[in-house]
């Protein structure tokens, strides 16, 4: 049993403050303002107690990342489920949702179960698969959504491709009602985005790069919201990047649609003005947009228009990114750096409270995708993050657990990291070192 003493606990489903917390048999045993040694001994029932002084540290429910690309099966040179799950716990994520655009895409129950099994074998973060929406991500026939759900899929997405055919999107929203799971939309009009390398605006005009206009996203957001309204379907909008989309989502929520939306940390931390022709780790889709867009995204995240943060962790091998900007693939890795960067640049300056951080990166994804977690209530699974706001670390290719290094923070020092992470009551990260379960299948 663990006894965390006098720690600042941030419970997005309750309150925040100094607490004593007990972890026993994989669950949160107690969460109280103060516990006496007698009470603790009684609760332990003879079990040895490992106690820890939490002074100056934060305790969060494990962070949950709703958007990661783990590249397995098929593209293991970029990442695999074990390395992705390792990166996750190093960054404070106890649960991650794996996108389905692998090779082959996760469009059958067998593949859904494979992803879950690989996650359990890694024994680090919990790995939840998304299934594709259509077979082979070809945008035509729907997958066997009921079967995929039984296999463990928590939603459906053709992310990376957009469903350009509106009728297929409509049918997907209708049919997914049978599962109660959301359709995750990568909202992008391929004709408007075609060939672009960065946000269409003055920075692109100066650099001579073809731009991706905001309308490439907002038009599809508008379409998806119309279809969600018409069908009553459940939709989650991935990686929202521009102010027009925020406005559309705000209106849709006022009308009571079953819509949720995410924003990626890089869209809150960088703009198109940070892009130059050589730093391909800032090449991402949707692209880094203007300062006005960035403001609208933060406002949206604070007022609840945008429900959650998600990294869109998109690993690539170094050679792919070591190309001229226009030719490099899109994507930024985020699992190991996103929490620290958001902490440093948004939480420390007071733009985002620790509680809102836990709401948008733990509670909201747990609720939307039906996952355990997002709370510090007694009886909940002990997926927990002990966060040290003073811990500093330089991000280098050697320090990263991910196989990839396409992060704009490479070579920089960040401050604020998890120093102890539990999944199901077991430590998986201790003193910044991974400690995977030796006995294989640990979770569930």
């Amino acid at each position: 049993m663990w006894w965390l003493k006098n720690i600042y606990a941030v419970d997005p489903s309750g309150s925040c403050g100094k607490r004593d917390i007990l972890i026993r048999e994989g669950k949160i045993e107690a969460n109280a303002e103060r516990l006496s040694p007698e009470e603790v001994a009684e609760r332990a029932g003879g079990e040895p107690v490992e106690s820890l002084n939490g002074e100056g540290k934060y305790l969060f429910p494990g962070f949950i990342d709703a958007h990661t690309h783990l590249r397995e099966p098929g593209q293991e040179a970029k990442e695999d489920i074990a390395s992705g799950a390792a990166a996750a716990v190093k960054g404070g994520f106890t649960s991650i949702i794996a996108m389905a655009n692998t090779e082959p895409p996760v469009d059958s129950r067998g593949l859904v179960e494979f992803v879950r099994t690989q996650g359990a074998r890694a024994g680090l973060a919990r790995v939840y698969p998304l299934g594709t929406v259509t077979k082979g991500m070809r945008g035509r026939e729907l997958v066997e959504m009921l079967d995929l759900k039984e296999g463990g899929a928590v939603g459906f997405s053709d992310d990376g491709h957009n469903l350009q055919n509106s009728e297929v999107m409509r049918l997907a929203l209708e049919y997914a009602k049978l599962t109660g799971l959301p359709i995750v939309s990568h909202s992008e009009d391929e004709n408007l985005a075609c060939g672009g390398a960065m946000h269409r605006g003055k920075a692109a005009a100066r650099l001579g790069l073809k731009g991706i206009p905001s309308s490439a996203e907002s038009i599809m957001v508008a379409r998806d919201l119309m279809l969600a309204a018409e069908t009553g379907g459940k939709i989650h909008l991935a990686h929202i990047s521009c102010r027009e989309s925020v406005r559309l989502i705000r209106e849709a929520k006022e009308r009571g649609l079953d819509v949720s939306a995410e924003v990626n940390p890089h869209h809150l931390l960088f703009t198109d003005r940070d892009v130059d022709l050589f730093n391909t780790s800032l090449k991402v889709n949707p692209p880094l947009r203007s300062e006005e867009d960035q403001e609208a995204l933060l406002t949206g995240l604070l007022d609840g228009t945008l429900d959650m943060l998600a990294t869109d962790h998109a690993p690539h091998v170094w050679e792919e990114k070591a190309r001229p900007f226009a030719e490099a693939p899109f994507g930024i890795i985020g699992l190991e750096t996103a929490l620290a960067a958001v902490w440093q640049r948004l939480v420390v300056p007071g733009k985002l409270s620790p509680k809102r951080l836990a709401e948008v990166w733990s509670l909201a994804p747990a609720r939307r995708f039906g996952l355990p977690g997002g709370t510090l209530r007694p009886g909940s699974p002990a997926d927990l993050v002990l966060f040290d706001p003073e811990w500093r670390e330089r991000i280098t290719s050697d320090s990263l657990a991910s196989k990839a290094q396409n992060t704009p923070f490479l070579g920089q020092e960040l401050q604020g990291f998890p120093t102890l992470v539990w999944v199901g009551g077991e430590p998986v990260l201790r003193g910044r070192q991974l400690c995977p379960a030796g006995d294989g299948v640990r979770h569930r």
Partner: protein, 310 residues
């Protein structure tokens, strides 16, 4: 004066640095016009041209410039090289480095490709056109041509007309001209002149005829036929009616306006033959000056000073 290894664009150069290059090109042009056009200056130096996009005049111009200066110019035919076997730009660059290249002249469809090479190579790099980004030697030869005819460019009005959006020539010219104090107007249809081009800091106009009065120079950009297929303008006919240069239209300037074109020309589309071949047409002059300006750039990048060429 800063010492450079590379020439990647004009955006990062100071007005004095641009003037220095143009000044150096003057004696180079004299050498070029001699019966025996050969200098020993760069004897034993190896200059490679690496062109990923089709080009005749620019590539030949660079080769000529290098040879007049006494360097060995080697052309790497991209279509016959291992590039076709999937070799990355970085690996190609490293291979050239290993051959002890002194200078690489690259044209590539990706903006930033020349800068990318420069970052990975000890050898010097000249950008001979990278995507829609910059084509610095083209702008330098345009500046040289204008200066030769007009003298100081301060306060001179220069109109660049056509497909500005996709034009690296236009971008480099805007930086160069504004640094030398000229007034620049970019003209073209809205689809080829989107509002974000205001970042270049010069006037944008859809109405060429309204801008013509007082123009000292009008530069027509080459119109790529595939832009019509992409729906950027309805037809060459309609384009030509609003933006094609001909003698009648040019009367509106009220001056002996110089007509420039980076070539190759679509005669009868962006420029009428009588204008291109007439006394105001600078196209052939530009080609000659192109060799001189490229000699100057190669010479300066290889560590030369202005007074060696005598």
């Amino acid at each position: 004066m800063r010492m450079f290894k590379d020439l990647l664009g004009l955006e990062g150069l100071s007005p004095d640095e641009i003037r220095h290059i143009l000044q150096t090109a003057k004696p180079m042009k004299e050498v070029l016009l001699r019966p025996v056009k050969k200098l020993p200056t760069l004897r034993g130096k190896a200059v490679y041209t690496l062109f990923y996009e089709a080009s005749t005049r620019t590539k030949t111009s660079f080769e000529m410039a290098a040879k007049v200066l006494g360097a060995d110019a080697v052309n790497i035919g991209v279509s016959q090289s291992s590039v076709n076997k999937g070799e990355s730009l970085l690996d190609t660059a490293k291979t050239l480095q290993a051959m002890q290249t002194d200078l690489i002249i690259i044209r590539h469809a990706a903006s930033g490709a020349a800068g990318f090479l420069a970052r990975h190579l000890e050898a010097g790099v000249i950008n001979a056109g990278d995507g829609q980004h910059e084509h610095p030697t083209q702008a330098l030869l345009d500046l040289f041509t204008m200066q030769e005819k007009l003298g100081d460019l301060r306060g001179k009005k220069v109109i660049i007309v056509g497909d500005v959006l996709h034009s690296r020539v236009a971008r480099s010219n805007v930086w160069g001209l504004t640094k030398l104090g000229a007034e620049v107007v970019l003209a073209g249809p809205p689809t080829l002149l989107p509002p974000e081009l205001s970042v270049l800091g010069v006037k944008l106009s859809y109405d060429l005829d309204r801008e013509l009065p007082g123009a000292d120079v009008v530069m027509a950009l080459r119109l790529q036929l595939e832009r019509q297929q992409a729906g950027l303008f309805p037809s060459l006919r309609e384009y030509s009616r609003s933006y094609g240069l001909d003698r009648a239209r040019l009367r509106a300037t009220g001056k002996e306006t110089l007509i420039l074109h980076p070539g190759p020309m679509n005669r009868g589309v962006e420029i009428a033959s009588d204008l291109a071949d007439g006394p105001q047409g600078m196209v052939e002059e530009q080609v000659t000056n192109g060799v001189a300006v490229r000699m100057a750039v190669i010479y300066l990048l290889m560590g030369g000073t202005t007074n060696v060429v005598a």
